[in-house]
């Protein structure tokens, strides 16, 4: 850099009046002694003079403002605004139109969803045929179903459908593979034990055949690997069981009493017949559909008459051309393959109808919660008055009864009544009544080893069966209750004594009131 550069630069700022006082003094001192700086100053002043004098201000533009405002207006004009807002307006208008449309058609989406659901369900429900026509349900199978609650789905592969109940009363069904080892023919043992004659044998065969026919509509399958199971299976199980027991009692009452469990010895035949009638008369409206990728409940009507017609036609053709018919039957052979990784759970209705699905290597279990009882609306006694009530009840308890209303399908009130000398205490239960009554005594059948030994019944299997029947029956005997009530009375007495003692203590020691107040019953 030129050694004078800094001073030259200062000179340029000097002529522009941009130097500080100190800088001005400095440069002026320098200028006084330096001809070079003086010459540079002259040069710079002349250049500045030239640049200032060579330009003039730009000519005024009279229309500048007018043009500018016009430009601004055109930019903010409605057309411009519309163009700018077209995308937003489009979306907004569409939204408004949709809102208006949906307001006037509130069920639009519901309808679409419902239609799609129907279409989807249609895919699975197409061509459903009874499983047992191809599985070849025998009377022995029906008998086994009544006792063991299992039905063969695929005999060759050892695949069974089992129904059962949990301790909490919920029902379930399972598809098990080759886990059941059958010991002999229980149906034959049953016939032999009852010492049935030929006519009676035909009768029991006829009974079981009639159920075999009804059972056709209970489990349906199609080529899309769909299995539709009617929840009525549980009732069919009870009905067949009741029917077989009723028949056995009629056929050989003496022998029946020997082999039947305690609960069946005093069996009431008309009631058993009634069970069967109620079950048969109930409509097959809903089915539980198990497909390779979903499980759902859907209303489905199986046209049995149409199916029977087809079967008759097939039988006629079978006679004409046996081989062709055999092939046709073979084509209908059903193999259930469930993708264990993709199981979605669909619910219908509220919590009470929720299905639970368990799948492992050889079991597919669908759990159905208790379909009959709703204990949620049990009204509880007023605990504030508990002491007085207990005192009154334990003093004056004379009878303890449960009134069971008449049979019916609708929800009914159960009344739990405690009679006291002056008044009656009532507790109401709101329960869905089971479709039929089952006159079985509780807690006795498990001890009856004769029946179990005779048919090689597994304890858990039969216990499930009886517990189910017992839970549904809601029949209690006065005698049992009397025993229970005696126990109850003893407990009540103890409690009362304790409370009285507490009362006395309170009177003695008023300072302890606070502690006692915090006691909770």
């Amino acid at each position: 850099m030129n050694k004078f550069y800094k001073e030259y630069e200062m000179l340029s700022a000097y002529i522009d009046g941009e130097l500080t006082k100190e800088e001005v003094k400095y440069i002026e001192d320098k200028l006084a002694v330096s001809k070079d700086l003086q010459q540079k100053l002259t040069e710079l002043r002349r250049v500045k003079e030239l640049s200032q004098s060579s330009f003039q201000k730009v000519i005024e533009s009279p229309y500048f403002e007018t043009k500018l405002i016009a430009s601004l207006n055109s930019e903010s004009s409605s057309e411009y605004k519309i163009k700018k807002w077209i995308p937003v307006l489009g979306i907004s208008l569409t939204t408004i139109v949709l809102m208006l449309f949906l307001r006037s058609n509130p069920k639009f989406f519901d309808t679409i969803i419902e239609e799609q659901k129907t279409k989807l369900a249609g895919l699975y429900t197409e061509n459903l045929k009874p499983l047992f026509i191809t599985a070849g349900l025998t009377n022995e199978d029906i008998f086994d179903f009544a006792l063991y609650r299992k039905l063969p789905l695929d005999k060759e592969r050892g695949q069974y459908l089992m129904i059962g109940s949990n301790e909490d009363g919920s029902n379930y069904f399972e598809i098990k593979t080759a886990s059941i080892v059958k010991k002999g023919n229980d149906f034959e043992k049953f016939i032999a034990a009852l010492d049935l004659n030929e006519k009676q044998k035909l009768q029991i065969d006829s009974i079981l055949e009639s159920y075999a026919n009804d059972m056709q509509g209970q489990i349906l399958v199609n080529e899309n690997n769909t299995v539709a199971i009617s929840p009525k299976l549980w009732n069919y199980n009870k009905a067949i069981f009741a029917d077989v027991m009723a028949f056995a009692k009629d056929a050989n009452g003496v022998q029946f009493v020997k082999i039947a469990p305690a609960g069946f010895r005093d069996i009431n035949r008309p009631q058993l017949v009634e069970i069967a009638e109620v079950v048969k008369a109930a409509s097959d409206s809903d089915y539980i559909f198990m497909t390779p990728d979903t499980i759902f409940i859907e209303t489905f009507r199986f046209d049995k008459e149409k199916f029977d017609d087809e079967m008759r036609r097939m039988q006629v053709e079978m006679k004409k051309n046996l081989k062709e018919a055999e092939n046709q039957l073979r084509q209908q052979n059903f193999i259930l393959n469930i993708d264990k990784n993709i199981v979605k759970l669909r619910t219908k209705g509220g919590k009470e109808n929720k299905l639970e699905v368990f799948i492992d290597t050889n079991i597919c279990r669908v759990q159905i919660p208790d379909m009959h009882f709703d204990w949620s609306e049990i009204s509880l006694p007023n605990f504030d008055d508990l002491e007085t009530q207990i005192a009154a009840a334990t003093k004056n308890l004379q009878s303890f009864t449960i009134k069971i209303p008449k049979e019916g399908h609708s929800r009914q009130k159960f009344e739990f009544r405690v009679d006291v000398r002056d008044s009656a205490q009532k507790f109401n239960f709101d329960i869905d009544i089971p479709n039929f009554k089952t006159p079985i005594l509780p807690d006795t059948f498990m001890n009856d080893s004769t029946f179990s030994e005779l048919y090689n019944l597994k304890a858990d299997s039969i216990s499930n069966l009886f517990r189910q029947l017992m839970d549904d029956s809601m029949i209690f005997y006065q005698k049992d209750f009397q025993i229970e009530m005696r126990e109850f009375q003893k407990e009540m007495k103890k409690l009362r004594e304790e409370l009285l003692r507490l009362q006395k203590d309170l009177k003695k020691e008023p300072t302890k009131v606070k502690e006692v107040e915090s006691l909770e019953i």
């Binding site: 030259y8 630069e9 000179l11 340029s12 700022a13 522009d16 941009e18 040069e43 710079l44 002349r46 250049v47 500045k48 030239l50 640049s51 200032q52 004098s53 060579s54 330009f55 003039q56 201000k57 730009v58 000519i59 005024e60 533009s61 500048f64 403002e65 043009k67 500018l68 405002i69 430009s71 601004l72 930019e75």
Partner: protein, 198 residues
């Protein structure tokens, strides 16, 4: 009850142009768009002149100045009142001019034939028409970064500080650039030393 009354000499508030601009802008932000017209009236000459000088003379002066005000109109809501409105306005103007010049240069690279640049109409006062023309041509040859501070100083009378704010650089840089612009101009004009009495 007696109050100790103290007489206070209240001076009439001094209304600065700065305040005027600010109050107009505030009114504009509040929705009174008519104030924008007042701002245009107040600053249009400066903007047009600045554009003219920055471009070194161009018939697109009005277009660019219009563009400057359109930009101001759209962005006035974002004005932060941290600097003078004029500084903000001139910075926009200079940037618009720089953009224009840059685009023009790029166009010139891609077009073999130079655009039909019309020679701007210059107006000289003291110097003869020829002398002024020579100087203007020489100024035009200066690079933008030197020419613009020189024009702002010599023709618009901006202080170094104002120039620094307008072109967004340090005062020292402005000082240096103005000196280099003058030196450069003297060198370009060297062939006309005698005529121009350099």
């Amino acid at each position: 009850m007696k109050f100790n009354k103290k007489k206070v000499n209240l001076q009439n508030p001094q209304i600065l142009s700065l305040d005027d601009d600010f109050s107009l802008i505030k009114r504009f932000i509040e929705g009174d768009e008519t104030t924008f017209r007042l701002l245009v009236q107040r600053h249009k000459d400066k903007v047009r002149n600045l554009t003219y000088l920055t471009l070194g003379g161009d018939d697109l002066v009005d277009d660019i100045a219009q563009d400057v005000f359109l930009t101001v109109y759209k962005n006035l809501n974002k004005f932060r009142f941290e600097s003078q409105f004029s500084t903000w306005l001139y910075r926009i103007t200079v940037n618009k001019c720089k953009d224009h010049l840059r685009k023009k240069r790029i166009r010139n690279i891609f077009t073999s034939i130079k655009e039909d640049e019309q020679e701007p109409v210059y107006h000289s006062s003291h110097e003869t028409k020829d002398t002024a023309e020579i100087v203007r041509k020489a100024v035009k040859e200066l690079p933008d970064k030197l020419r613009i501070p020189l024009m702002l100083k010599d023709l618009e009378g901006f202080s170094y500080q104002e120039i620094a704010k307008t072109v967004s650089c340090e005062i020292g840089t402005v000082k240096s650039r103005i000196f280099r612009a003058r030196e450069g101009l003297r060198n370009i004009l060297k062939p006309y030393e005698k005529e121009l009495m350099l």
